[in-house]
């Protein structure tokens, strides 16, 4: 009777083990693409990718080993109907316990050492990088400055900024934040580094292939964190030089979407028959000081725009009907503390929205009547 009873669970446990073995084989068969990071596009990323594979394989082996023990024990030693016997009361086994303490110690020690070695590769910073780029994060955009080339790019909500770098050259990135914590993350580089106010972080990368790679802010930074995107375009040295030359020829930072209105230090008469109307708008603490402005129809507006946010870029754009409507005026983006006065052309009667294109949450209504 006991012999038969023992035969059944053994069959069941063998079946369970077989099932787990098949799962393991299946996992290895498809494992090439399951739970794998994107192919690394930098030298540093390739080192991380190798390390990830090692940790991954160790993790998978440990999982299937331990899980097999759990499943085997649960099935093999399940209580049979009517079996009311007390199994042997084993309280422990010192040899076993030393073994299953020592083996994990060895495994984690090895993983620690190879991680540290890889870290030294990934974290190495060159004294002579081929190209330096200053990356500044702010709510909720990026500014990329090439100090040696004199090129600056700022992202806009409808146009994410593109970091252009040459392939096979060491690029050094300096990260700074103007407001809150951000995170500079390129999945294909298998790398991120926090962008922290009051602290400058520096890292190097050497792209190994050309292409365009997505980048995200990964440190939660407030309302539009999910929109704080960028791209990295890796090009040949030739293309890079051409791009720099073109960028240098274009005036920075080029945010204006309509022909740039004249911005001047003085209000100026504008020369029209109708006297301009003076309006003032202040940006402070990432908000406009008012949500309501009004102006008479048909009169030009002298708009004094004060940016009181130290180091934070703002602008003001006027759009028809809603913050996403047709643009009738756009000022330039500039960091505070500073003031600009714009000549806004006369507007027909109607409702307009004024909006900061850097911070789409900064909006208000301009009523022209």
């Amino acid at each position: 009777m006991t012999r038969i009873a023992k035969g059944i669970p053994r069959g069941a446990s063998i079946a369970a083990l077989a099932a787990i073995a098949m799962l393991l084989v299946a996992a290895c068969g498809t494992g090439v693409s399951v739970l794998q990071p994107p192919p690394a596009a930098t030298e540093q990323g390739k080192a991380t990718e190798w390390l990830y594979q090692v940790v991954f394989i160790v993790g998978v082996v440990i999982f299937f080993f331990v899980e097999a023990l759990i499943v085997y024990a649960a099935i093999r030693y399940r209580r049979r109907k009517g079996d009311d016997s007390l199994p042997p009361q084993i309280h422990g086994n010192n040899v076993l316990e030393v073994i299953w303490t020592a083996i994990p110690v060895v495994i984690v020690a090895v993983l620690f050492v190879i991680s540290w070695q890889t870290l030294n590769t990934v974290d190495a910073v060159s004294a002579n990088p081929k190209l330096r780029i200053d990356v500044t994060g702010f709510q909720w955009q990026w500014q990329f400055t090439y100090p040696d080339q004199g090129v600056t790019l700022i992202g806009l909500p409808d146009k994410e900024p593109e970091l252009v770098v040459p392939v096979n050259e060491t690029v050094q990135v300096k990260l700074e934040s103007r407001d809150v914590n951000h995170g500079f993350y390129v999945p294909a580089f298998l790398f991120k580094r926090d962008v922290i106010p009051g602290k400058t972080n520096v890292f190097d990368f050497k792209a190994t292939e050309t292409g365009v790679f997505d980048g995200h802010c990964t440190q939660f930074c407030g309302l539009l964190h999910s929109k704080m995107l960028f791209k990295v375009r890796v090009v040949t040295q030739q293309d890079f030089d051409a791009w720099v030359a073109q960028a240098q020829a274009t005036p920075t930072p080029a945010p204006s979407l309509t022909p740039a209105p004249s911005a001047s230090g003085d209000a100026g008469g504008g020369g029209g028959a109708v006297q301009p109307v003076a309006l003032q708008l202040t940006a402070q603490n990432i908000a406009y000081d008012t949500s309501e402005l009004s102006a008479p129809a048909g009169a030009p507006i002298a708009l004094t725009f004060v940016n009181n946010d130290n180091g934070i870029p703002h602008d003001v754009a006027i759009r028809k009907d809603s913050p996403t409507g047709e643009e009738v005026f756009a000022g330039e983006i500039f960091p505070g503390v500073a003031t600009k006065v714009y000549d806004v052309p006369a507007l027909p009667a109607g409702t307009y929205a004024f909006v900061c294109t850097v911070h789409p949450n900064m909006t208000g209504t301009l009523t022209v009547q």
């Binding site: 794998q36 084993i90 995107l229 603490n285």
Partner: protein
């Protein structure tokens, strides 16, 4: 002392609601903890479903970024501070005095205060939703984002005040547990005869008493920064943004162990009973628990590897090292089942679920100990998968195991086993559908805490799968609610000891009388009730 008997009929009136509101009985307070935590579990769960609904497809379908950010922030805050921690404290409250043969906690009135601070704190935190927006900076509330300049709403202040109250509740509870365990043990209940759950509550209480004041200080500093012109965390005025992360994680990493150690304790009570064997390697288990508690204070900066502000090799090594005592526990549990006589009760099923899920949560966490790998996966959905495999697959599965295990003791009736198994199957499948795909999303580069993602990123299918899984998890709670309802009305009578338990709570009636015991069995091992049942001598002194 403050109460005087007014009329003879008071005794009768006190048997109802008034009694529950004024009780100092650890068992009633324990049940209040469990009930209040479960309500917050439902609230946090609804917030999670809202988050998952929005993420099911790219684009913003149901809410804007502002609402989304509030929902994910409050989901985590509610689940961690108003569900997991108090839920486990509730088990401790109910079970610990019984397990050590004590009539009550050492300070019954402080115990009542610890509990009543929680619903108050919960209401304060949630008030933000009706006062112009709840906190929306994530449960980590990183400064300067959490400063008034960037988060001017009152929701963040309410969040801080609520959290300080919860911290106060935790500290009072921790001290109460420590005094109870050290001073109130029955004769014969030596430290090495304490049930493992009591040991885990003890170590947890040490973590609470050492760690929580640090968080409370940090929260007060943040409150000063926000409201009284302080600049502790404001780099523009000489403060430090990284300082917040250091003090926050100095508490909040040990807090992860506060949220898992008692769950391990629950598992360590259930496995021996349903395997009919003693816990394998009792002392190794105790030392492993203490080691996790001690190491838990030296790994906080693994949350900050990407800041460029911590000494990476040290925290990497300590983080790897903490896997060792955790592994010891896993092998002890399996060895306890080995050659046992395993009964697949609902409680045991949830514990088997715990073993598998926690195994995954341990392994996917070890990835983050490897600093370069952490550079790749930090702040992505991999981390979301990791924390949920530990705290949902781990703690929540253990909580349900514990509810099925101790419900008969608390109410004198068993929960329905069929409904329990149904719940387990739906929850296990739903949980894995929700969280396993997040590993893949994470390595593919999907950042956490984003309200929206590009349809071109290749994340659509897995997000949809995760949302479907989350609906299953939500559905799985329904059989449990129904189970509690029908069992309380007409459940199977449990008797004093329905599971053939090992520990002292099974030596008294179900539910136990006020002050718990008329007389205690002789305590000669960590399994006095087992010894009484089988007439076996306890293991020799010192094991």
């Amino acid at each position: 002392m403050a109460t005087t008997v007014l009329t003879p009929s008071t005794a009768r009136a006190r048997s109802g609601l008034y009694d529950w509101l004024t009780t100092t009985d650890h068992k009633k307070i324990g049940i209040l903890y469990l009930a209040s935590s479960f309500l917050f579990f439902l609230v946090g769960g609804i917030l999670a479903l809202l988050v998952r609904a929005e993420l099911a497809q790219p684009g913003l379908q149901y809410m804007g970024e502002s609402a989304y950010n509030q929902f994910f922030t409050m989901h985590a805050s509610v689940m961690l501070f108003l569900f997991v921690i108090p839920m486990l404290a509730g088990f401790g409250n109910y079970v610990v005095p019984l397990m050590i043969g004590a009539p009550d906690m050492a300070f019954p009135r402080i115990n009542a205060l610890s509990f009543w601070l929680l619903p108050l704190a919960g209401v304060i935190m949630m008030l933000g939703f009706v006062l112009g927006g709840a906190a929306a900076e994530g449960w980590t509330s990183y400064s300067p984002l959490a400063n008034s300049k960037y988060s001017p709403g009152v929701g963040t202040d309410l969040w801080i005040v609520g959290l300080i109250l919860i911290g106060t509740s935790s500290i009072l509870g921790g001290i109460n547990f420590l005094v109870t365990i050290f001073k109130m043990r029955a004769p014969g209940m030596t430290m090495f005869r304490l049930p493992i759950l009591v040991w885990t509550v003890l170590v947890t209480s040490v973590l609470v008493v050492l760690g929580t004041p640090v968080l409370t200080s940090a929260l007060i500093m943040l409150f000063i920064d926000r409201n009284y012109g302080g600049a502790f965390f404001d780099p523009a005025s000489g403060g430090s943004a990284v300082l917040w992360q250091n003090v926050f994680w100095f508490y909040s990493h040990p807090a992860v162990y506060i949220m898992i150690l008692p769950a391990m304790g629950i598992v360590s009570e259930i496995i021996p009973v349903f395997s009919r064997k003693p816990l394998f390697g009792y002392k190794a288990f105790v030392f492993a628990t203490a080691a996790i508690g001690a190491l838990g204070f030296s790994v906080w900066a693994h949350h900050m590897f990407t800041t460029g502000s911590v000494y990476l090799p040290f925290f990497s090594f300590m983080t790897f090292l903490i896997a060792v005592p955790t592994g010891v526990k896993m092998f002890n549990w399996i060895a306890t089942m080995w050659k046992g006589s395993i009964q697949f009760s609902s409680a045991m099923l949830f514990v088997l679920g715990f073993l598998t899920m926690f195994l995954i949560g341990g392994i996917n966490g070890a990835f983050s100990a490897s600093v370069p790998v952490d550079f790749a996966i930090h702040d992505t959905y991999w981390i979301v998968a990791h924390i949920h495999y530990v705290l949902f697959g781990g703690s929540v599965f253990a909580v349900f195991g514990g509810l099925f295990y101790w419900f008969p003791k608390m109410f004198g009736v068993k929960l329905n086993e069929g409904l329990g198994k149904l719940q387990f199957v739906i929850m296990f499948i739903g949980f894995n559908l929700t969280f396993f795909p997040m590993h893949e999303l994470g390595v593919a580069g999907m950042p956490r805490r984003i309200a929206d993602y590009s349809p071109m990123a290749g994340w659509n299918d897995l997000n949809l799968v995760a949302t479907i899984g989350s609906i299953l998890v939500g559905v799985s709670v329904l059989p449990f609610l129904w189970n509690v309802f029908v069992s309380l009305r007409s459940g199977e009578r449990a008797g004093d000891d329905p599971w053939e338990g090992n520990t002292l709570e099974w030596a008294t009636t179900s539910p136990p009388p006020p002050y718990n015991f008329d007389r205690l069995p002789e305590i000669r091992s960590e399994r006095p009730v087992f010894d009484q049942r089988h007439g076996l001598p306890g293991p020799a002194a010192g094991h």
